[in-house]
Subunit: 301 residues, 2 copies
């Protein structure tokens, strides 16, 4: 089945200990859509400026991604630049030029409204809710948020979350949203807000899937070299949502969700192996399945 992804498309400037790129394709919707595209047809709703390179549209289009919801607005595409610390655990934002993304108001093509799987990338909670309301027959809705919305739009956000099946956030966001330091108690409070499933991403340490009936811990893949972690969390979300949408299985079944978490981890790990979307652009389904089997091999006892 198809997955609809709503979020940002951007150009990124990235500096890591391994090198520097001035302007590469990025944005949450880009990573989510590319990662999901290995599992299912993807539809994207986002906005870009007049400077958007047709080659980048070509890359997305060649990955089974329907761009009929990609709006082209007067002005420039969202631009972000940042530099990572030597151990890649911290990053400093150097530039955030929202440009056309500042006025982003997702417009859903009529044909997109009945897409069965929906992923709401990190945008203003009210806009996420507006998209959700326009959809009919959603089988599974998942979404992301960030510290800014948790701090500035908390009520709007908790209202929006109520209609989601899965919330995917990182550990610091989970602590901020719940006001709890310990992950298990944080998860309990967040699940009480509505979502049936909560995935807390822990960077190099993997991810935890929390449900009312238990939890599942997926360790992080031990890469030899983390080249560039930009987009790893979004690639996780894309792999997770794509694996659910691409399978015929019940997306609310705990075992099905666990396998999707592993696919998310696989995509997140590949993402770090090259700058930007470089690794995802050249990835194959065979490589994904091979790393999935590696996950089983290094966790089984």
């Amino acid at each position: 089945m198809s997955l609809l992804v709503v979020g940002s498309v951007a150009y990124d400037g990235i500096e890591t200990p391994y090198g520097k790129v001035e302007r590469v394709l990025g944005g949450s919707a880009t990573y989510v859509a590319l990662a999901a595209s290995f599992f299912c047809p993807v539809r994207m709703v986002a906005v870009v400026g007049e400077d958007f390179d047709p080659a980048d549209a070509g890359l997305l289009g060649s990955h089974n991604i329907d761009l009929s919801g990609l709006e082209r607005a007067p002005g420039k595409t969202f631009y972000w630049a940042g530099v990572y610390s030597g151990d890649l655990n911290d990053r400093t934002t150097l530039t955030t030029d929202l440009n056309v993304f500042a006025g982003f108001n997702p417009k859903l093509p009529e044909a997109f409204r009945s897409t069965p799987y929906l992923f709401l990338g990190n945008i203003q909670p009210a806009l996420q809710a507006q998209v959700r309301r326009q959809m009919t027959g959603v089988r599974l809705a998942g979404g992301d948020t960030m510290n800014y919305w948790i701090r500035e739009n908390r009520d709007e956000l908790t209202e929006t979350l109520r209609d989601w099946n899965v919330l995917l956030i990182n550990d610091s966001e989970a602590r901020m949203l719940s006001g709890e330091t310990h992950l298990r108690r944080a998860a309990e409070k967040i699940l009480a807000l509505g979502p049936q499933s909560l995935i807390i991403k822990r960077g190099e340490y993997g991810a935890v899937l929390f449900r009312r009936d238990g939890h599942f811990i997926a360790p992080g893949f031990l890469l030899e070299t983390v080249f560039d972690p930009t987009g790893a969390g979004d690639s996780f979300a894309g792999g997770f949502m794509g694996a659910l949408a691409g399978s015929a299985a019940d997306p609310n079944d705990h075992a099905v969700l666990r396998r999707a978490v592993i696919y998310g981890s696989v995509l997140g790990s590949f993402c770090c192996e090259q700058f930007g979307v470089g690794r995802l652009a050249g990835l194959t389904r065979a490589e994904i399945d091979s790393r999935y089997r590696e996950f089983r091999a290094f966790t089984e006892f």
Copy 2:
């Protein structure tokens, strides 16, 4: 089969966000021995001062721990005091009074020399080597070290490590010993020093077992509350070594080692639930096996 544990016995003063104790039984050999005692008979070689409380000897003795190698020396028992940060991820040492431990020279009772399983706690590498040399017919030798010895006695340490089957250290020690930031490359370099197995402990994130033929990642148990992490790493080592010694299985088999890593994780997690050895003192084998099954339940996919 039996396990011989060589290391420190101490009194600890501990302050965490959950409370404060002035003087409780501690030390690496204490935690290792207690944790291992649920699986196999344990023999301990350590030194205490004239202030050592007979009730503490009673506690150890009641746990299947042979204290005929526990030397009583004139002076006071090793004393350590520290305070943990609010999130328990950092601790500051307030006091380190080595006392009788400063002159510790392990004396092995004749009957201990043929113990098949040996754990060398964190003491001077030359003393670890001296103990190792006195042993005959060792089936598996494991040991620990710390940043101080890596920095000050590196040559002695690498010489000593050559004869060990398993080295158990934490991630910062692994980075220091190897000079590599990335865990996988750090592990390769350390395995090249001699040990067939390397366990890198990652605190709340669990542990990784590295071997030349692959690796195994065990996530950390998600405790509701970490009350006091003192001794968790040593309890891990004790659970790991005890599980190997207590089973008839080949301790160099990868699958056997994986299960022992999970037992180590189980004991490390219990240790954090109360101050000092409080939780280990009251633990049962049934509780251990139940948590082992929980590990399987939250990692299977």
